[in-house]
Every structure is written in C-alpha cells, then in structure tokens.
Symmetry: none
Amino acid sequence: MEDIAAMAGVGKGTIYEYFRSKDDIFREAHKQFHKEIDKMVEEIIERDCSPDEKLRMIVKESLNLFQKRNSGTSIISAKELTGIIMQFWSEGVREDSDKLIDPMRLKNIYRKYRKILSDILDDGIKQGIFRKTDTRLSASVIVAILDGIPLQRIIEPRVFSGGKISEVIFENIMTGIKA
Amino acid sequence: MEDIAAMAGVGKGTIYEYFRSKDDIFREAHKQFHKEIDKMVEEIIERDCSPDEKLRMIVKESLNLFQKRNSGTSIISAKELTGIIMQFWSEGVREDSDKLIDPMRLKNIYRKYRKILSDILDDGIKQGIFRKTDTRLSASVIVAILDGIPLQRIIEPRVFSGGKISEVIFENIMTGIKA
Amino acid sequence: MEDIAAMAGVGKGTIYEYFRSKDDIFREAHKQFHKEIDKMVEEIIERDCSPDEKLRMIVKESLNLFQKRNSGTSIISAKELTGIIMQFWSEGVREDSDKLIDPMRLKNIYRKYRKILSDILDDGIKQGIFRKTDTRLSASVIVAILDGIPLQRIIEPRVFSGGKISEVIFENIMTGIKA
Amino acid sequence: MEDIAAMAGVGKGTIYEYFRSKDDIFREAHKQFHKEIDKMVEEIIERDCSPDEKLRMIVKESLNLFQKRNSGTSIISAKELTGIIMQFWSEGVREDSDKLIDPMRLKNIYRKYRKILSDILDDGIKQGIFRKTDTRLSASVIVAILDGIPLQRIIEPRVFSGGKISEVIFENIMTGIKA
DNA sequence: TATGAATGAGTCTTCATTCAT
DNA sequence: GATGAATGAAGACTCATTCAT
C-alpha cells in the first residue's frame, strides 16, 4: 500500500478514502482493464466492415492492449501488466472462501468475449467467408490464443518482434496449418 | 506453511527437512509439473506415427494434464492446479530482485515446447501433410491455445464438457476457420 | 520484541519504525551506553585539575555509570544493565559471519579509553606525580578493573557497599599492595 | 545442538544420553571451566613459596587459562572461550525466572577466589611483604584485573603480545603507579 | 480531506527436544 | 546405547489497516 501510495503521489491513508481495501484496488484494476478491452472491442464490432476484417482488428488490438503500456504516461511496464493479469486469472480461479475476484465476474467476462467472437464467426459463416464449425468452441480457441500469446511474448519478446505477429496469428486462425 | 504441513500430514517443521523455504517448495512444484509434461511429450514424439497424429496426441494429453488431478490420490483439484500454474507464470514474469522462478527457466521451457512443436510441423511440411507456414510462430499459437484453454475450462467447465474438446481444438488448429 | 514493545509502552510493529531489526536495537543501545561514558570522561579530562584527581574522578564515575540506573525513570536495573554490557562484550568478540557488533567498533572504543588514561598517566609522570611505568599497559589494567569490578558488584553487592569502594580501588591503583 | 553433536562426533540424540538439556551442557561447561581454574589455583597455593610468588603464579596462570586453548587438541579458540565465559557472566547475572546459572554458584565461586587471594595477601602482610590494606577489596581488584584483561586481549591481542604481560600486571598490582 | 505514525494479526523460519528404530 | 527424522513452541518481522491530527 505504501508503494501504491508513493506511485500515486499521495499519502498511505488517502488511498482508503477512495478504496475500501487493497483487494478493492485489485478488483477495481481488474474492472478497469476489462473496461478498456470492452471499449476497444465495441468500437471494432460497430465498424462497418467484414467479419474477417473485424476479427483481424480484434486480434491486433488485443495484443496491443498488453503492450502499449510502454507509453510515457504509464507507470507500469507490459511485463508488469501481464503479471498482474495472470494474478487476476489466478485469483479468479481460487476456491478460497475469501475470493478476491467474484468467479461469476470472470465467467461473464469470458462469456461475453466468446459471444462477441462467435457472433462474428456466425456472421462470417452466413456470408460464406468462414466454413461451418462449432463457432462457440472456435471462439474459445481464439480467446485462448489472445490470452496465451502475451505470456509467451513477455517471456521471450524477440520471437514476436516485428509488427506482423498479429497478422500471422490471424492467418493461422484463418487457414489452419493443414496442407 | 501450517496448511501445507497439515495437508501433508506432517508437522510444520518437518517440511524444512525436505525444502529450504516456502519459495523452494514453489520452485520444486514448478519443476515437478514440467517434468510430467516433459515425460508425456517425449513419450509421444518417440512414437512411430505421423506428425499430425503426434500433434493430436499432444493436444489431447496436454489438456488432460490440467484435468486428471481429480484422481483419488491427488490432494489438489484441477481448479487449484490451474491457479497454481498461473501463479507460476505470474511469478516467472516478475521483475523483482528476488525472483521466485528463474526467468531463464521459463524461457527454456517455452523454447523447448515450441521447438518440439515446430519440429513436428516442419516434419509435416516435408511430408506434405501441413502447408508451409512460419512454423515457429505456428508452434507459439499452439502453445498459446494449450495454455489458454485450461483457464477457460476452469472458469466454465460446461462449455468444454464432452470428451471431444481436444478433437475440436485439434481440428481448429488443422484447418483454420476459413471457408 | 514483544517484551521490549510492552516495556516501551508501544505496539510490536512500532519498534520497527525506529529500528531496522532487533540487532539494530542492540547496536544502538551499545552506542548509547558508550556515548554516556564518553560524555562523562570528556567532562572530566577537560577539568582544570591534577592528573591523579582526574584519575580518581574517572574511577568514581565509571563505577557510578553501572549503578545509577536505579533512578526512578529508568526501566532497567543495574543488574540488567551489567548483563547487557556483558552481552555487548560477548557479541563483540564473536567470530561469526553475522557479527552483531563490529569488532572494529569495540577495538576503537577500548583504544580510546586506553589512550585517555595513558595520556593522564603520561601527564602525571611528567609532573612527577606518577612513577615511570609502561603507561599503555597500566591504562589497560585500570580499564580491566573498571570492567571487572561491576561484575563482582552485581554478583555480591554487599562486599562493595559503602560509598568509598571507588576510593579504595583508586588507592589500590595508586599505591599497589607492596609494603 | 546439531553443531555440538557434530563437533563431538556423535548423533544429535546421543547428547541427551549425557545431558538433560542444552542449558545443562552450558552449566556443565561452566563447572568444568572453574574446575580447571580451581585445580590450577590449588596447585599453586600448596606450593612452598612466598605469598608474592604465589600471587605472581596465579596471575600468570590465570591469563594462560584463557589463552592456551590454541593447543592442537582443543576445538575452540581463545576468542571463542572468552566469548563463552562472558556469556557465563552474562547469564549468571540475569534475573529471569529460568536462571541458566544459579546465582549462588557464581557468588560462591567469586567468594572462593577472593578468599584465596585475600588469604595470600593476609599472609604477605603478616610476613611484612605486603602493606596493610583492606585485603578483601584488594583481592576483588586483582580478580577484576584477571577478568578484565582477557577481554581486552581478545579485542586487541597485539597490545598484550610478548610473554611478559603477566609480569607487568603483577608489578602494577604490587607497586601501583604512584611515584 | 489528507496524512503517516501506530498497530497487531499473521507468516515464515529456527531449533531444542522427543522417540521409534 | 546411539541415532536422526519429526515436531511445534517461540520468535523476528511484515504489512494492510486505523485514526488522531
């Protein structure tokens, strides 16, 4: 709490004027992070463009969200952010009595993302752009990729250097690897 | 430590006969978990079967590893295991001076898995089973899926119920979603 | 630490606002004790009086320092203080890697006291008050007496009761026992 | 206890076959140390020589006792021994309920040494070798010197190097510093 | 409203002691 | 008799939280 207060440039006690507890800060940060994602995703799905284009944009911007913290104003690095998000997951999954994050929250968040993606996929199938698959599970796979890639990128940034990672990922999702 | 001792059915002090510190337990658990994965993967790549078959087996068994803890002897649930693994990631990514997990360890682990998968992919391309792609990045995408799916499964097990999830994931990886 | 906190009338954690560790308290107490001695000694050597008079005063006040803790405000007894000082010695002499007290500190402290006393002796010799001796070793013997007497006094106060102990000791130092 | 067992070349549990507790070892070591002194002192007072000669021998051998541990067979250094003896003192002086060393023991020990020395002094006075003093307090001063010098010697051995320290100390005790 | 000194519950770790072999 | 694996009481220290100013 002392570190947080110092970073925020306020006194230790002041934090408690705005947050009930440290856990509350954690929860609020979690909410904030997903608000950013939501804003980004909504902005994309409202665009007037093809389903595959929407998918490409979501892949691209999702990966950017984990990264762009390097900006001048931000006080935490991409590495730190990824670590925090993993703690979000780790805590959201705990079975303790004193759950830091409401499991229902996480459940709803992932339902929403899957729904958004499966809607795009369904739309694409209707338009003949995507082939018929279990869109719900395919959406899950896409979400998994968007969760899993940032982890690897933090561990070894070089592998994912160059601006076209998201393009390759998108292509992979699109065409699979089959000959 | 008191809880761990109680679970292990020993006294608090006894743990320190076998582990230097709490962090040491954490590290050892990490090592143990990856030893299991390694054993599984190695067993598969040595089999005499086609690259796509190997890929299918790895996908299947990886997802099983996160799950099978429900067995009678195990004292932790799949949920708990997943939470712990996320802590592994979370800790492995930290920049603190007192790193719980050596970042190089995580780096090497992920390198190894990517190498194993890209070798399979290269082999498949040579055999004309897979189409030519950036096998390194494709391997990354597969790893991401195998990391990301268990998280979602913990949060909402029903979506992934039924024994054929891994088949669908495998199929997704193979053919993509393009029409 | 709990006991110390209770004696100080504060909470356990409060101590750590003022001292880094328990060892730090120990070191600080050591410093404080010698600061008191230093003050006393300096006050005496600056006085305008003969070397033998200075010596008498130092003997008298040194023995008082170990004793006067019985005053109303003090929370530790002379007995406890002596025990603590012996721990100072005991610790200062240890060869462990984690020295509680810097051996150099003790060395400098004793050098200083010997120097002060041998200066007084040298001065007295020059004035013809003291006979020519190895003043450095004689100073050591005086220091030894001032260290050793308090120990015996704690163990058996009666032997040293009466206000004139220091006078007798001073006389012993001065004239020895020879006929 | 593990260290002690290792030094003794026995198992940890074996110690408890011979000592009730760690404190018991401490007490026994204390007893042992003073048995050595006693033996030395008795051997000297039974000699057929003058009181001043006896005093000289006691001074010499007392200082040797703290030092001679450097011998090949001994497992502890002079430094360590001095530290331990200070702990003896420190503990013997404590007022805690669980006194490690019986205060009466220390009291008797010091009484005995003072008695032995004052007897020698009384004898010397009778023989006209020593001048008339308060022999009890003079004995105390001699004991103080024999306690205090080893401490200084540990802290700074060089000051006391050369074999004739005890001679100088003896001379100091005998003739004092007065001109 | 903002603060940070004070707090003590909680945590890891040590180590003297026990006891089954 | 000898052993050392097991033990848990005790202890130093941390840190989220409170509250008087």
